[in-house]
């Protein structure tokens, strides 16, 4: 297992934001955390990364604790947050250079820039990029260390169709080579294209944990989207 989470809980005051969640993934596997806004997806990711305080029975990445062995673990784990802010006045090239300098081994950055459609933008300021370009840069930086495991929080929000397809294709190639991915998404086509397993959250609790075939089968719905709405309890709204 490249990531093991057992009985993870996050409490904000009296509110249980994440309640007893367990999951694990192997190399080359992709798990999708699904749920409405506020269901606890980002809190789960933050707790798994050690940013948010949590209670757990087990929390290991690459066999180590991301809290006690932070520096070693994050040599091989990449992260793209839902919202990525950059230093004022930073250029695309500087952002890449700074991130490259953090790791012992890095990917071929010019190739990544090409893959993510950012060639020719190197001298531009990050804040002058379009929303989609900034999002692609954030994903690029998460992959710059050639990680074994990557967290992608709403990876294609704000991207156009072509850019999304391009990104999926790239991630699938990397998945073939053994990259494990934890992602959150609101787009069911994306989940179908990328995920082996899904975890549906509602008010911090696990409502469903299994494969896409299983979720469709158990819910007796025709599509993943309907199955998701059935489990996430949003069906009444449709």
């Amino acid at each position: 297992m490249i990531l093991t989470v057992k009985k993870l809980s996050v409490t904000y005051g009296a509110k249980e934001a994440v309640d007893n969640i367990s999951f694990s993934i192997k190399p080359g596997e992709v798990i999708g955390l699904l749920g409405a806004n506020g269901a606890g997806k980002s809190s789960t990711i933050a707790a798994v990364l050690g940013i948010e305080k949590s209670n757990y029975e087990e929390l290991t990445m690459l066999g180590k604790s991301p809290i006690r062995h932070r520096k070693e673990v994050f040599q091989e784990v990449g992260v793209q947050f839902q919202e990525t802010n950059f230093q004022e006045g930073l250029s695309v090239r500087e952002a890449c250079e700074q991130w490259e300098s953090l790791y012992k081994q890095t990917a071929d950055v010019p190739l990544l820039l090409q893959t993510f459609g950012l060639v020719g933008k190197e001298t531009q300021l990050v804040k002058s990029l379009s929303g989609g370009e900034r999002q692609r840069l954030a994903v690029l930086l998460a992959l710059i260390s050639n990680p074994k495991l990557v967290f992608l929080d709403e990876l294609t929000t704000g991207l156009d169709t072509k850019a999304r397809r391009l990104l999926w294709k790239q991630l699938l190639i990397m998945k073939e080579k053994g990259l494990a991915i934890v992602l959150t998404s609101h787009y069911m086509d994306e989940v179908e294209a990328l995920c082996d397993k899904i975890l549906i959250l509602k008010e911090g609790k696990t409502i469903f944990h299994g494969t896409i075939q299983e979720v469709i089968h158990v819910s007796k719905k025709a599509t993943l989207e309907n199955a998701y709405l059935y489990f996430a309890g949003e069906e009444d709204w449709v």
Binding site: L49, E72, F74, F81, N85, Q87, E88, E94, E97
Partner: protein, 244 residues
């Protein structure tokens, strides 16, 4: 290139692009130096010694602005905008970020030191009575103490608002009540007691002794206070550093 050098290069460029460091770190101390020099060196009543003593005080203004204001404000801004949170999930150590920011701010403090020295030397014929070696060593010690305070503030404050409050309190009280601008010697006795609490007062006492060539042996108490600032500041910063 190593992480630290890359940080120095990139963050340095970003900080120097900003106007704050130029105004508060460089221009303000040099303008004050010119003003002090003009007032004190021409005023017969103030006497030459007051003018001589003022050099040791004015060279700390740039240190104060960059160390106690610049460093904590930059770190708090990075924390506020989630940039530190992004660094938390990389192998970088908080120390590398803090020291890089410290060194960058220090570069402007050094420019202001050179500027003030040139103004005092060329415009007002200032001569340092003590040894330059001992004086610079003392100055380095005072700089490290002030930066330790700034790094501690930057590490501890939860948000930008409290960074502003705490660094302003530290900056303005020390600017006004430690002899950096208004000389310790002209203050009423009561204020001198208050001033004795502030770390920079001790730094300026030491610098005055070093600049006039007095032996530093009777400055032992000042040295202990500044050393405590360094120990408490740096240990506290490492222990309590907040990423978000």
């Amino acid at each position: 290139m190593s992480t630290f050098l890359t940080f120095l290069k990139i963050e340095g460029k970003l900080v120097w692009k900003g106007i704050d460091i130029l105004i508060f770190g460089i221009c303000f101390p040099i303008i004050l130096a010119t003003l002090f020099g003009y007032l004190l060196s021409k005023d017969g009543l103030a006497g030459a010694s007051n003018f001589e003593l003022s050099y040791a005080a004015v060279i700390t203004i740039g240190v104060l602005a960059t160390g106690v204001m610049g460093v904590p404000l930059t770190i708090a801004d990075y924390r506020h905008r989630g940039i530190l949170k992004r660094f938390q999930v990389t192998p970088v150590s908080p120390l590398q970020i803090l020291f890089a920011q410290g060194l960058i701010q220090l570069s402007s403090a050094l420019v202001s030191f050179i500027g003030v020295t040139i103004v005092y030397h060329l415009l007002f014929d200032y001569e340092l009575k003590g040894s330059w070696g001992i004086f610079l060593l003392t100055y380095t010690f005072v700089i490290i103490a002030m930066y330790s305070i700034g790094i501690l503030i930057g590490s501890l404050v939860p948000d930008q608002k409290s960074a502003n409050v705490w660094s302003s309190i530290a900056y303005f009280t020390m600017l006004l009540f430690s002899g950096a601008t208004i000389p310790y010697e002209v203050m009423p006795r009561f204020f001198q007691w208050v001033m004795d609490i502030l770390p920079l007062s001790h730094g300026i006492h030491l610098l005055k002794q070093a600049s006039t060539g007095e032996p530093l042996t009777d400055g032992l108490f000042h040295i202990v206070i500044l050393a405590l600032c360094i120990i408490i500041g740096l240990c506290g910063a490492i222990k309590f550093f907040k990423w978000k």
